[in-house]
């Protein structure tokens, strides 16, 4: 282990020992993330622009596939960066920036789902109709998948999205969602099975 990596590990407060699972590149990424968050907390515009540019697509995709509504996904993406700016000073490099960002994203999503559950059902149906105008075969398939995604429990859907969109390991997803790997595997398997069953007649 190089002296450089030890000092970096000490700087960011991560216990790092020979043979541990934390790799050098991961530690450097964590330190990079910490520096970026410190800059953002201090009002560095460039650091904030860089963060938004780097993550806006992934965050939007997560919200869009969770809610199946473009406007809401856009709105939540903007809200997320507002929240990130306010919380940047509290960022601790215990996890990667991506894990931290998606934890905030998931909290926002849960809040939004709670808010939706309190709203009358009619308004949601109208939005759905406006959003999804049926068209080609591909469009029809997307429509079915979007509808089925909305029916999935939040934890099943989020776990599946983290696995497919972010390509996280089961372990990472389990840590982020505060559960164990077996649960994550089960949720993803169930979610996939439901989606497959829904699109089977179309294939």
């Amino acid at each position: 282990m190089s002296c450089n990596s030890i000092s970096v590990a000490l700087n960011i407060g991560v216990k790092f020992s020979e043979g541990s699972e934390i790799s050098n590149s991961k530690i450097f990424r964590m330190e990079e993330g910490l520096i970026q968050m410190k800059k953002i907390a201090n009002g560095d515009e460039k650091a904030l622009i860089d963060l938004i540019a780097e993550w806006k697509g992934s965050i939007f995709a997560f919200f869009y596939r969770s809610l199946s509504n473009h406007a809401d996904a856009e709105d939540l993406t903007q809200k997320l960066f507002h929240r990130v700016y306010r919380a940047a000073g509290k960022y601790k490099p215990k996890a990667k920036v991506s894990t931290w960002l998606f934890t905030i994203a998931r909290n926002l999503l849960i809040d939004e789902l709670k808010r939706r559950s309190r709203r009358p059902q009619e308004s949601i149906l109208v939005e759905w109709e406006v959003e999804h105008v049926s068209g080609s075969y591909g469009q029809e398939l997307k429509e079915i998948l979007a509808r089925e995604m909305c029916k999935l429990p939040e934890n099943h859907r989020s776990a599946l999205l983290f696995r497919v969109q972010q390509e996280w390991s089961y372990r990472e997803i389990a840590d982020m969602m505060k559960t164990n790997e077996a649960n994550v595997k089960t949720w993803i398997f169930r979610a996939r099975s439901i989606l497959k069953k829904a699109i089977k007649p179309q294939l």
């Binding site: 938004i52 697509g57 507002h82």
Partner: protein, 138 residues
């Protein structure tokens, strides 16, 4: 149709990755960053002012409360005659026996100048009390 196109897992993954949706999402990061920083700055400016005015209001409230409390505890500076009237009123309310009232009347008549309690001649009243044998002689 090719076999790959029929694979449901592939279709699901394509859908979940949401490449087409992300492409349609046009967010100006510079504009958003400026807005976030502006909102953050305006909030940090307004918070201390709110705190400042709240603390000033609390100080004023405490000061006024102290003044009101102090005012309540200051005794009324009433005149001597008012005090006499008050004493007389309280005396009239006392349950006195008829002989005690008579004795008190005699005592008051014996020293006409001492009707006003503040101008009592203590020497003569002492003598009177001695004559009435209300207190033992020294």
């Amino acid at each position: 149709m090719k076999k790959a196109d029929m694979d449901p897992n592939q279709k699901i993954d394509e859908f979940l990755k949401c490449k087409d949706g992300s492409e349609s999402f046009q967010l100006d990061e510079q504009k958003l960053a400026k807005q976030i920083l502006f909102d953050g700055t305006s909030k940090t400016v307004s918070f201390p002012s709110i705190r400042y005015w709240l603390s000033v209001a609390a100080c004023v409230a405490i000061f006024l409360g102290f003044l009101i409390q102090k005012k309540d505890f200051i005794p009324n500076r009433s005149s001597g005659s008012e005090m006499v009237q008050a004493t007389a009123a309280s005396t009239s309310n006392m349950d006195l026996l008829p002989e005690e009232i008579t004795m008190l009347d005699e005592w008051l008549l014996a020293s006409p100048e001492s009707v006003d309690f503040f101008s009592v001649d203590f020497d003569s009243s002492y003598e009177l009390l001695v004559s009435l044998e209300t207190i033992p002689l020294p």
